[in-house]
Every structure is written in C-alpha cells, then in structure tokens.
Subunit: 202 residues, 2 copies
C-alpha cells in the first residue's frame, strides 16, 4: 500500500507521518500478527525511528486502536448514510449491503486488521470499538424491523438477520484477495441480491 | 478447555499428550496469536517441557497444522455426509447449514484458529488445507447447482451463493462467545431458514 491509499483510508488523520505509520502497521500486523510485531518493525517499515513513532502514537496498541476505530467509524457512517438516504427498506438494504461488501473486498487487507485484531485492544479502547459495532448493528436491525413492519421482509429473527447481513460483508475480508473474482462492486451487487432473498424479498 | 474436549475435538489424535498440546496451543494462539506464542508457552500450558513437545510435533507450525487440518477435515466430512445423506437439495442445504453453523458457534475458540490463522502455515501445509477448503466449497456448489437444475433454487451466481453459505457459518466463530444467544443449535436453525431464503426458496 502506498501513501495515497493512506490518504484515502484515513482522510482525517494528520500529519502524513501518522498515516505512514498506520499503513506500515497494517502490513506488519497482516504478516506477523499484532503480538508478533514490534514498534520498531512498524517504525522501520515507515522509514522512521522508534522514537519518531512515539511522537505520533504512545504505543503499538495505540496504532492498532487508530486503525480499528477509524475502520469501524467508517463502517458506521456508511451504514447510517444508507439508512438516512433511503427511506425504502428494500432499497436501503441493497445500498447498505453493496457498499459494505464492496468496501470489505476492496480494502480486505486493512479490513482484516479492523475486524480480526480486536481482542488485542486494551479494554477501554475495545469498549470504544464495541460501541461503534453496536451502533452499526442497531442501525441494520432498525432497517430490517422497519421492513418487517412494512410487510416487505420476513425473517425468523430480526437480531439474527441483522447479524447475518453484516457477517456476510465482514467475512469477505477473510477470503477476498487481489485476484478474486468478481470485482468488489459486482460482488456487492450479487450479495445484495442474496440478502434480499434472505430477508424474504423475492 | 479440558482434556475431554480434546478427545471430542480430535478423536483420531493419539496419544493424549498430543491432544493436550493441541488444546494448549488453541488457548495460546487465541490469546497471543500464532506469532506471539512460543513452543515453550504451549509446552508449559500443557504441563510439559519444550523437549517433550518435540516428541509429538517438530515445530509450533506443526501444532497449528494439526489443529487446522483436523478442523478442515471435520468440516469437509460434515458437508459431504449431508450431501450423501440428503438427496433433496433443500433438505441437504438445511442440514449442512444447521450443522456447520452450530459447530462454529459451539467450538468458536478452536474454529477461530482453524479459520483465521491459515496465513501462518508453511506453504506445503497451507496447500493441504487449501485443498480441503476447495473440496468443501465444491461440495456446497454441487448441491446448489443440483437445486438450481431441479428448479428449487434461484441464485445470481452459484459460486457466490456457495461462498455466502459457508461465509455465514465461518463468521459465527468470529462473533460467537460462551454467553451468546441463541444457543448453537437454534442459531443453526435460524441461519438455515435465512439460507433457504438466500437461495430463493420461499
């Protein structure tokens, strides 16, 4: 990943050195896991000294937290924007699924860190991320509930259905690679169709 | 996890000391990741010396491979048994999904290692596991294809649908905990209903 991707992934993070460190951490965590990575590994990969890393992040866990919080905030914004933009539950679910799936496919490397390294966060940081996850899940649940009330959806259990919708998107990050087919947008569209079926729309 | 769970998870593995090491490795990998775990950590947690570990496994990676291969073999057996026992595609998909989901919920700790630590395997070991995964995916794809041919299923793409079915099950291991609701069997049943919808059966 290069610096441009850093700007695209984390437009709110400044300065550029902090983004470079986050990108280097994503690579290192992806290769050696959080516990197998040292702050020196991250700093070196970003072309900096360990001391320079500490100017931007107090610890390796703080870099993980920055990556994880940012990813979860973006997911929540994506899901909330769809909920606000599309009052129709069917159109809303299509948009949510397409965007959520495409993001996890396109950004599978960073998404894997965001989704699978949570257990390594210190408790108070974990709680911040857990709250973002709950808010995302509640938003999806509210949309499905609205669809059930409107007679558009039929599901065995709203909570389980919301989990399943998000689960399909998250798991894309596990198996998707740079050479996977179909491309992220087409995969998003196919998954949206599957999700509509899952919610009883056919 | 205690030794009884070891016998249940790995009935084919002998002697008991090898199973104890695999259980200790699951705990250690779950807490510190593969790269953050030493062979000494595993041996100590199993109440053995590092030298005693090497009697059963040539390396830490060999313990991971034993856990991963066994989990993937069991998943393949489960999926193939369902395919052989249920000639009707609808009943077959219900059975596959229920069992696959319930297993990932009930055994979420070992399933996380089985599903998420693949990248740490040496190339030739990875290839063995990848072959088991391909066989599992092909079996699911064949069942969905048969259902499409029989007019029971309608999907945008058979390959994507098979991935989505397996994805739903695998991702349960990520979020399920010992206190999650519903219980593994009920979750399996709810997911089977969602999967039928996904495949256009309603």
């Amino acid at each position: 990943m290069n610096t441009d991707i850093g700007t695209e992934l984390w437009p709110d993070v400044t300065p550029d050195a902090a983004r470079r460190l986050m990108l280097a951490a994503v690579d290192a965590f992806a290769t050696r896991g959080f516990h197998g990575t040292t702050t020196r590994d991250i700093a070196t990969a970003a072309g900096m000294s360990p001391a320079a890393l500490y100017v931007h992040f107090p610890s390796k866990a703080a870099v993980l937290f920055a990556i994880s919080r940012s990813g979860h905030s973006q997911a929540l914004r994506m899901i909330r924007s769809a909920a606000e933009a599309e009052p129709d539950p069917v159109r809303c679910v299509v948009r949510m699924t397409t965007e959520f799936v495409a993001w996890h496919a396109r950004r599978h490397k960073v998404a894997r860190i965001v989704q699978y390294e949570l257990h390594a966060l210190p408790p108070q940081d974990f709680e911040v991320v857990a709250e973002l996850r709950r808010a995302t899940e509640h938003t999806v649940r509210d949309v499905i509930s609205a669809g059930v009330d409107a007679g558009a959806f039929t599901v065995p259990d709203v909570r389980t259905a919301a989990r399943a919708v998000l689960s399909l998107g998250v798991d894309v990050a596990r198996w998707y690679t740079d050479t996977s087919k179909p491309d992220p947008e087409e995969l998003g569209r196919q998954y949206a169709e599957l999700v509509l079926g899952m919610l009883g729309v056919r």
